[in-house]
């Protein structure tokens, strides 16, 4: 007991310092460095770009196209309603600036300058001009972190638009992703467009991803295609975050949705 007491008197400062350092760092790890992300968002705010005149004009043009699409989509929805087709792709989203890249190049992530205050939630879908970019994996009040589709741990269910053959995409930490087909003899050609598939739970169906660049038919057990992403991931500045509660969808069985329709 005395020895313990003497040890404590001698070393308490050191023990306290070590436990504080490790405890604090562990706390930050568990909080996914949320406080640091907040400070980062605050630091990076003056650095984010302001749109110039050309961009304003381009944006106006895009807005015009968007309005036409909205019109077409609403008409489409009416017609789909007539044939009792389920509309799936949500249209409204939050525009967010990209304020940072992944802290370690082993992961393909970006940091966005909008967070839960702008209504962004974990599991939301991130798109950019060109198509799918990734999925929100962490949110703080004013920043959020996106896992890009090019990350090696990312898995996206995908479909070849022309022939509807399915497979899944996984990243290689480069500008291209690999698509592995479920079928042994898929009908896919170089130049075919690839979109998210209806069987993907983490992503809504029909979002464009990219085009097939190369097909390795010798790869077993099923052929593997190299897909060039249509969104320029290396030069992203603004993205659109679409609400999609991927995690909740994972927990829900699919039958209740079908019974709702009846």
């Amino acid at each position: 007991m005395y020895a313990l007491r003497r040890w404590f008197v001698k070393y308490w400062v050191r023990t306290l310092a070590i436990s504080l350092a490790l405890g604090g760092a562990w706390g930050l790890r568990q909080a996914q460095s949320g406080p640091l992300a907040e400070v980062y968002g605050w630091l990076a705010a003056p650095l984010s770009t302001t749109p110039d005149q050309r961009m304003v004009l381009e944006n106006a043009r895009i807005l015009e196209l968007q309005q036409r699409i909205d019109d077409l989509e609403s008409r489409n929805r009416q017609m789909q309603g007539l044939v009792e087709h389920q509309a799936t792709l949500p249209t409204k989203g939050t525009v967010a600036p990209v304020i940072g890249r992944s802290a370690d190049r082993w992961w393909e992530q970006v940091v966005l300058g909008r967070g839960s205050r702008a209504g962004i939630q974990k599991g939301d879908i991130v798109t950019a001009p060109g198509g799918l970019v990734g999925r929100i994996v962490q949110v703080t009040p004013s920043t959020s972190r996106v896992l890009l589709v090019s990350d090696a741990t990312s898995r996206v269910g995908a479909t070849v638009s022309r022939s509807r053959f399915m497979g899944y995409l996984h990243g290689t930490n480069g500008a291209q992703v690999k698509m592995e087909f479920f079928d042994k003899m898929p009908d896919a050609k170089v130049g075919d467009t690839v979109t998210t598939s209806a069987y993907s739970r983490l992503f809504p169906p029909g979002i464009p991803i990219g085009t097939i660049d190369f097909i390795d038919t010798k790869k077993g057990p099923a052929p593997e295609a190299t897909v060039a992403l249509s969104a320029p991931l290396s030069m992203l500045e603004w993205v659109v975050v679409i609400p999609h509660n991927g995690d909740a969808v994972l927990e829900l069985p699919e039958l209740p949705e079908l019974s709702d329709e009846d």
Partner: protein, 200 residues
Amino acid sequence: MGVSGPLKPARASQARSLLDQIPHWSPSWRTSANIAVTVLSLLLCATVMPMRFPGIDLLGVGPNWVLIWVVSWSMFHGVWPSLVAGLAAGAIMDGLTAPEPTHMVPLALVAVLTAQLRRRRLIEDEFGMLMLLVFALVAIAETVFAVQFILQGQRDPADVWALHQWLTLCSAILTSLWAPVVYVPLRLWWQRIAQGERSP
């Protein structure tokens, strides 16, 4: 004072004299200031990790500021404090990226290696040596990381090694070139603190 030589600009000499006062601060004030500088500098290094300053990044890779901080700390502290610092820095990096595989293993290894080399006087407190050391340590840390990825089994080993090669090269070049930016201010600080502790 009484320096006989070329006149320095007034501002520089003011800053210099302010730094020279640090060893004469009261012990409690010195300790609390030291803790604040240490913690804040590490958090600052971690916070700027996602930033790619224009002109600093190489193929999308930025300098590993946290690794430079860990090396700087280990140059002036013993093996055990270095291990603790490496683990803490690793935990923070885990929070900034993804928890698995952990950054705690490579950064703790980097910290302990630096402290051991310094203790055995195999490295000197000198820029050229520091940059070479950082270059080698980045290579070691990235290799440990790649091995962790392969052991984890989620990624294709061929992809991991392909990424490892160019990532290590870019990161090592950038990190060693930018090492003095973090190292010099921290060295100035910790040297004065150590002076104060030697002669109270």
